[in-house]
Symmetry: C2
């Protein structure tokens, strides 16, 4: 019989235990920050109705981007982000939630597109959103940025420093108005701006030229990427309002304790959702990872689900994008995560198993991570080798002698020192290693 393949599908992540422990430690720290910031964790379905996932009817096209399937008459698919489910959930629970509502999500998302280097088809993102009904102070935009930074800082021993760049959708709206673009041009130019990073300067310039056919206008737009808003101060009330909002916001970020924040009008965050200020985080030490977190403000989150206007500010941290990429690039010293085990209990022969298991239970009761090595027919040498291989800090050796005097030989696996002691003393010693 032919054996089945053991590799996961391309674009799917599975880690060895040591790497998984590292990732779990990072997740726990980051989720702790979100809890401390009063966010309620939501765990929404991974499968949504197709009509919830998209407005489009062109299934062939959509199917290249999503995992879609049909059960009975119902078309459905796997979520590609956290926002689509949140917008449905909040609209369905308007009377069950207190607003402003703080929601966090840490869940797997799915992209059906062909896997590329560094692009996963299943990956974790960590979302946080603050939602208000009809109104929500931009103070919360600043707070979200502060919380993302705290979250990233909680793992700075692995990922180093982070910085944030803030852009403004209203600035571009005001600029397009000021330059007198028609609505088709506005849309096309905005798409170009959004893709500029990926296109490169030359393609961007050509795209602008194709769309605008007006060198003066093209140069005005290009100037933003060189001089920021400086050419556009006091050109129109709308431009000034957008520029002032941005400058006030940067002061607020400073008040809120955010470090390494600057304006960058090239930050636009795509076409969907966002309507106000937008922001992106990168890592100073690992710029090659690109944007590791991003978000912004949306004027009407749940408009497709409810007549109630839900204003929000939200962001997602590319959890897998950061940590799996750093592991793959060999940037993480995983040796600290080699073992979850403090004690390996080694009974020598069947006669010792019962006492050994009472020791195991006593250690586990004290939250001391303990592995029982219960293949009692194995030689002492093999048992100790096993304890060594699983990186146990201590081996607790239990033979007939130990059973008779109800004591344990405790061996420190790094120094090799060993000593016979009571269970009580063993617990006391091992607790200091937790």
């Amino acid at each position: 019989m032919e054996l089945k393949p053991t590799k996961p599908l391309s674009g799917f992540i599975e880690l060895l235990p040591v790497a998984q422990r590292f990732v779990d430690v990072c997740a726990a720290r980051m989720l702790g920050v979100l809890r401390t910031a009063g966010f309620s964790n939501l765990d929404l379905p991974a499968i949504e109705r197709a009509e919830v996932l998209t407005d489009k009817d062109n299934w062939d096209e959509i199917e290249t981007q999503m995992f879609l399937f049909q059960k009975g008459d119902t078309k459905m698919g796997l979520r590609y982000d956290g926002t689509v489910g949140l917008s449905r959930y909040v609209a369905g629970h308007l009377n069950d939630l207190t607003f402003p509502f703080r929601a966090s999500q840490f869940s797997k998302r799915y992209r059906g597109e062909r896997a590329q280097r560094g692009r996963y088809r299943e990956f974790y993102q960590m979302d946080m959103d603050i939602l208000g009904i009809n109104t929500l102070s931009t103070n919360y935009d600043a707070e979200i940025i502060s919380v993302i930074q705290r979250t990233l800082n909680s793992v700075s021993d692995f990922i180093g420093e982070n910085y944030v760049r803030v852009g403004s959708r209203p600035f571009w709206d005001a600029l397009f108005d000021y330059l007198g673009l028609n609505s088709a041009q506005k849309k096309d130019v905005f798409i170009l701006i959004d893709k500029r990073d990926k296109m490169g300067d030359q393609d961007f310039a050509e795209g602008l030229s194709d769309t605008l056919k007006n060198e003066k206008l093209e140069n005005e737009i290009k100037s933003v990427f060189i001089n920021g808003y400086s050419n556009f101060v006091k050109k129109s009330d709308k431009l000034d309002a957008a520029i002032n909002e941005l400058n006030d916001f940067m002061k607020k970020l400073n008040d809120f304790g955010v470090k390494n924040a600057d304006i960058d009008l090239s930050v636009t965050r795509g076409l969907a959702y966002y309507t106000g200020l937008v922001f992106e985080f990168k890592l100073s030490t690992y710029p090659e990872l690109g944007t590791v977190a991003g978000g912004g403000r949306y004027a009407n989150l749940s408009e497709k689900f409810s007549k109630t206007k839900i204003i929000g500010v939200g962001a997602a941290i590319g959890f897998s994008r950061i940590f799996v990429a750093l592991i793959e690039a060999g940037k993480i010293d995983l040796s600290k995560f080699e073992s979850p085990v403090v004690a390996a209990v080694l009974p020598m022969g069947d006669v010792a198993v019962s006492f050994a298991m009472s020791v195991v239970n006593a250690l586990r009761d004290e939250n001391i991570a303990t592995v029982a090595c219960l293949d009692t027919e194995k030689k002492f040498k093999n048992q100790i080798e096993y304890a060594d291989k699983i990186f146990a800090k201590y081996s607790l050796i239990i033979g007939e002698d130990e059973v008779n005097c109800q004591q344990i030989t405790v061996k420190n696996m790094s120094t090799g020192d060993q000593e016979k002691m009571s269970l009580r003393d063993a617990v006391k010693l091992l607790k200091t290693e937790q």
Copy 2:
């Protein structure tokens, strides 16, 4: 424009924040037990190749049970349990893992079948497996049962006491041999035994009669459900071996500190995987939940993926089945989980925001769960109401006075007492509430 539906698809779970917090607390405690027992958490892909999920070629039939889809030429689907992925993963990493290898998984699984009451199409299970190459002591079977019981005990304040029933596949093999059944009869009778719980006694008797057409044989088999193995002691060496193994194992469970364990030969755990002892846990207080955890020993876990023989003992806890069912039945007092928030910081007007945010940051630095109420245009009354609605234990009120003297008015939300104090004293007070 018609609004889209806000309810999740039928059979999919989504909880309100208060219920989610309860579930998260239970998961954290149970995962803590598994960590303490030295299990390595694995996070495997939710999507597997169809050929990994099943050997069958009858897609129409399988599609009624699974979520399947195709990308390019590749048929794939969502996992329905944790074992199928584990068997692939272990076979692919034989040289990367140390055996006996302890793996735990806490992940969503998917069933494509039509949703019924209490049956979910997306649900969590918590798996634990101990795997050996070529050999694995049955001591580990006892340890797995001990660990499951510790895991369930860690949430006994919510789910009460648990008990375990142990069955034996070798007993039935020996009995069928002793009774002289042919191999078609063996298979059919075993299917009947496995479905007996759902069929009821009468259908079971009729099924036996149809298959065996021999009243004496039928009565011998029925006697097991009344008298256990007592009619079959000293009838054949194979029967005696199975009975002795079971009795020795029950002694071992006692040595390992397992409570409320008994033999029950009607426990069989279906047709797949298991080849040795099998077991099921139920809850004494909530028998209506049925089996809440179950598992057993399998002789060759990864035979479809590797020529190396991997013997294992494994179990799954029906996490959603327990906790979502208890929430839905109103059996959980969720009032303890009403809020994750210790402090609501309430700045009165824009002038207070900057100082308020420095207070928020200081509290969060101390891991005090803190919500900032930053809609500064809202009236004091609305702010306090909000703090009350989110069940904050304390409100920290910061107006112009407080900013000027750099102090905070701290209001205990349950007693209504309030006092002006320094940030340092506020931190000291609030830390005791964590």
